[in-house]
Amino acid sequence: MVRTLEDRVRRALGEVVDPEIPACTIEDLGMIHRVAVSEAEVEVDLLPTFVGCPAKDVIGEDTEAAVRAVAGGRDVRVRFVLDPAWTTDRITERGRSRLREYGIAPHWERPSGATVVPLLRPGGVPCPYCGSTETVMESAWGPSPCRARHYCPSCRNPFEGFKSKEPTGA
């Protein structure tokens, strides 16, 4: 009984999209940290992607509404937590392919020593349109805190890329 409720909650969470990247759900982006279901309440802990994300509050409200719809009158508590810190490697395989289809390059492993200085070098973030890796990051700053802007000289398309947020060694 309780297990099926958790399934319903998880399925509902799988429908909540990021309003800034509607191609992806919060599950795709790896934002769901914990779901706890009891007789009295449903708790969901989310990880914010970027602290300054303007969509964060909306995502919290949408999540709460989605869970409430299946919670059968239980109390619903949605919180943003910071442990563990969200990093780009939490984006799922499906999330990565959905980002690509949407025209946003998913996070890639930066070659060691590479910086955000706009230089054309092999090993750039792969272009979501033609796949070329000879691309330039033009600016670390894009239309939202989580996105940078790139240019692909091969197919001559500007494109956006999910800004990498890598786990630190500590």
Partner: protein
């Protein structure tokens, strides 16, 4: 707020010092929106401002239970002398050279203190700082990119950048002015490293990076005397010397000694620059208390 909430919990003083730094410098950065020298930088400074204000908000939220006030009230509902940011954050943007010099000095300082606070005994703070630091990396890279570009650039670019460093470096040291509650914070491990030690770490790092660009002289001499275009005879006119109070060279390293200029911000002492910024920043909040968007 209570008469002196800081006396009750020293953590509040630490949170406000950092959050106020982020909020106030974020506000200054946001003043480039629509005015930066080119579109890329308009976007960069607007985005950095957005990040800094978000980091401030996160820290104010952490302070809510400690202060017994909500994050908005902490950010916008205090009198100007209750803000604990360092004076360097409230200075107007002046020109592009000063803006970038200050951003470099500030974000390097921020990196030094956040790296220490990742080891804080207060888990919620350490968690918040880890998240913040993953984003601050981009600010630091932005600053470093401009450092290299201007320091290695044509004479005027280099000169104006160095003049920016010269104008900002003394006051930037006061980012490491200890809050009065520091002994208690060190004892509890909330602040794992003293501000005195953090200042030493920052100065060594900044000194080394300036030296790599042959710019470390700015810590002891006026920039205008060294960055002039050589005359046809190849001579550069010697200028008056300046020494940034509290900085000296010892055994090939730039070190901090004793007192330094620009302190007071951590005790709420601010300049006329902040009076104007405070009027603007808190204007809506004061005019329409409790307004919702």
């Amino acid at each position: 707020m209570a008469a002196d909430p800081m006396a009750a919990d020293p953590r509040l003083a630490l949170l406000l010092a950092i959050a106020d730094d982020e909020l106030v410098i974020g506000h200054r950065h946001s003043e480039w929106t629509g005015w930066a020298p080119h579109l890329e930088e308009d976007l960069a400074f607007s985005s950095i401002a957005q990040d800094e204000m978000a980091h401030a908000r996160l820290l104010y939220q952490l302070a809510e239970p400690v202060a017994g006030a909500d994050a908005d009230a902490l950010a916008l509902g205090r009198d100007s002398q209750e803000y604990r940011h360092a004076v360097i954050c409230e200075r107007p943007n002046r020109d592009w050279g000063y803006t970038l010099a200050r951003q470099y000095l500030y974000d390097t300082a921020d990196d030094v203190r956040l790296a220490a606070l990742e080891r804080s005994s207060w888990k919620e703070l350490a968690d918040a700082v880890r998240t913040i630091r993953l984003e601050e990396r981009y600010h630091l890279e932005h600053a470093r990119r401009w450092f290299d570009r201007l320091a290695g650039g044509p004479v005027e670019a280099r000169q104006r950048f160095v003049e920016g460093i010269e104008a900002a470096v003394g006051e930037a040291m006061a980012l490491f002015e200890a809050v009065p509650e520091e002994p208690a914070l060190l004892e509890s491990g909330v602040l794992p490293t003293s501000n005195e030690d953090l200042l030493g770490e920052w100065l060594a790092r900044v000194g080394e990076e300036l030296e790599a660009a042959s710019l470390d002289y700015v810590l002891t001499e006026h920039a205008a005397s060294r960055e002039m275009v050589p005359t046809s005879s190849g001579e550069i006119e010697a200028g008056p010397t300046l020494s940034v109070p509290g900085i000296e060279r010892r055994d090939g390293r730039w070190v901090h000694r004793g007192a330094f200029a620009g302190a007071g911000g951590r005790q709420g002492k601010h300049t006329e620059d902040f009076a104007q910024l405070w009027e603007e920043m808190t204007g809506l909040y004061r005019t329409m208390p409790g307004a919702t968007w």
